[in-house]
């Protein structure tokens, strides 16, 4: 006897978010939870998106350089997490790449079409070390003018928050533009099957993973081409300012979407060898697809292969 399933979708964070919920009893009991789950995407976006002029993050950029700014616990902890990943990845993951991204044309709000007003400084280099946080005071200090891009952690964060609303379902899957979190079983009472796109043939899958609980996030060079039309994509090497190019995509399997999201970006920048080392050292699994489509997997990935 198959369980009842319902699928919902909405657009937040410039992507289609789909939530599939599975349960045996009549649906009405948990109706409101799906709405609340979507609400977290909106909540995180309105506070942490550099494309939203009224966001708390945008206000942080406008504050005086060098002055501690009091921020909400949500934004503080998201920045704290981004900085922790920056340190763990030796700077490969760096939220201050926002500046370089703006210079490449990634500056338009997808809903309003308006450009952000943050002007990049082309002469002053910044790194994650120029962001100082004070847990006691709950403040963030930007030592230089900069644009923080939290895109690589905010979506995973929202996914994990949304998932916290859905505990009343026997199984669910949240798909935020290819970043997936699953729990329990699907409507056929089987673990969820998650396909990984072939980076060069989007209609094909290169691999399928099977899991009951966990997050699968992929960073790929095909996701967001440069808006100014030049060659390249949205994942930038913080040290050089150029787009990372040896890897076509990285997929990470981890217990939380926040970690899977961040580490897929970090590993992409680090490249095949050091990227794989980072994943292994952080105790997560993953698959790196090099630009020639060679596959490199962590030692533990095979437990997710059917």
């Amino acid at each position: 006897m198959a369980n009842d399933r319902s699928v919902f979708s909405a657009v937040f964070m410039d992507t289609v978010i789909t939530i599939e919920v599975v349960q045996a009893q009549p649906y009405g009991a948990c109706d409101e939870r799906v709405n609340r789950a979507f609400g977290w995407f909106d909540h995180v976006e309105q506070r942490c998106s550099r494309f939203v002029e009224s966001s708390e993050l945008s206000a942080l950029f406008r504050a005086a350089t060098g002055a501690p700014v009091s921020v909400s616990p949500l934004l503080f902890q998201l920045i704290e997490f981004a900085l922790t990943v920056a340190r763990a990845s030796g700077g490969a993951f760096d939220p201050t790449v926002g500046q370089a991204m703006v210079a490449r044309g990634y500056k338009r709000n997808y809903r309003t079409g308006q450009e952000t007003t943050h002007r990049p400084h082309t002469t002053r280099e910044t790194s994650y070390r120029d962001v100082v946080i004070n847990p006691e005071g709950g403040t963030v200090t930007l030592l230089k003018p900069m644009v923080l891009d939290l895109g690589a952690v905010a979506k995973g964060f929202a996914i994990d928050l949304a998932a916290a609303e859905l505990g009343c379902f026997s199984g669910y899957a949240i798909n935020a533009g290819g970043d997936v979190l699953v729990r329990g079983r699907n409507s056929a009472n089987a673990p969820w099957r998650i396909g990984i796109k072939n980076p060069r043939r989007p209609a094909e899958l290169i691999e399928t993973l099977v899991l009951s609980d966990g997050a699968v996030c992929t960073s790929g060079d095909y996701e967001r081409p440069r808006p100014d039309g030049q060659a390249g994509h949205h994942i930038i090497q913080p040290q050089t300012g150029e787009t990372a190019s040896d890897v076509a995509s990285v997929t990470v399997v981890a217990a939380t979407a926040m970690v899977a999201d961040a580490l897929s970006t970090a590993a992409f920048v680090l490249g095949r060898k050091r990227g794989l080392q980072l994943l292994e050292s952080q105790g997560v699994d993953g698959l790196i697809i090099a630009s020639g489509l060679e596959l490199y997997a962590t030692s533990g990935l095979s437990r997710y292969r059917p």
Partner: protein, 184 residues
């Protein structure tokens, strides 16, 4: 057994209470997040602690946001953005009236430049309107206005593209196809 959701497709987001769900074990809200355990098990432990802390604090809706949309239950079990396996439009693009079930159907089509959401209203078995209800593309959705007229006159998903607006055309077409699949 997959059930289609007929007719009612809009869910209104109601204001939320500040109390979080009981099924989350959460630390105290307020200042608790600053004093949470520092010894965490790497990044996983850190992210879990952050999520619990922020979730416990909850949120209150302060502005109107877009409503989530119920889409057709899909046959395949893969977690992919819905775009395959839908019934094809008839080759000549026209269909008899009375084929669609009355109701309002909202669905999304995607493109490289972003998603388009279409709202198709069927009355007395005929498509009465097929507007763009949400425009998520980089370029204005008014580009697909000629296609909207086509949907009404042909009483089916559009079959042509608007020259110069190919990606928007594809997204709108996919959205209308998805919506009509719910109506069939």
């Amino acid at each position: 057994m997959n059930k289609k959701s007929v007719g009612r497709v809009k869910r209104r987001l109601k204001p939320l209470s500040a109390q979080p769900a009981a099924d989350a074990i959460a630390p105290a809200a307020g200042d608790g997040w600053r004093k949470r355990r520092r010894i965490t098990d790497g990044l996983i432990g850190l992210s879990s602690a952050i999520v619990l802390s922020v979730y416990a604090a909850g949120y209150v809706r302060t502005r109107e946001t877009d409503e989530p949309v119920v889409t057709q239950n899909m046959a395949q079990s893969q977690i992919q953005t819905p775009s395959h396996g839908l019934p094809a439009s008839p080759a000549n693009g026209s269909q008899q009236a009375g084929v669609y079930r009355d109701g309002t159907y909202v669905a999304i089509g995607t493109s490289r430049h972003g998603p388009i959401e279409a709202r198709v209203v069927v009355k007395d078995g005929r498509i009465a309107s097929a507007a763009v209800s949400r425009c998520g593309t980089r370029y204005p959705c008014s580009d697909v206005n000629p296609l909207i007229k086509q949907v009404l006159s042909r009483q089916s998903a559009p079959v042509d593209y608007v020259s110069g607006a190919t990606d928007s055309s594809k997204a709108y077409t996919e959205a209308v196809k998805n919506a009509l699949a719910q109506a069939s």
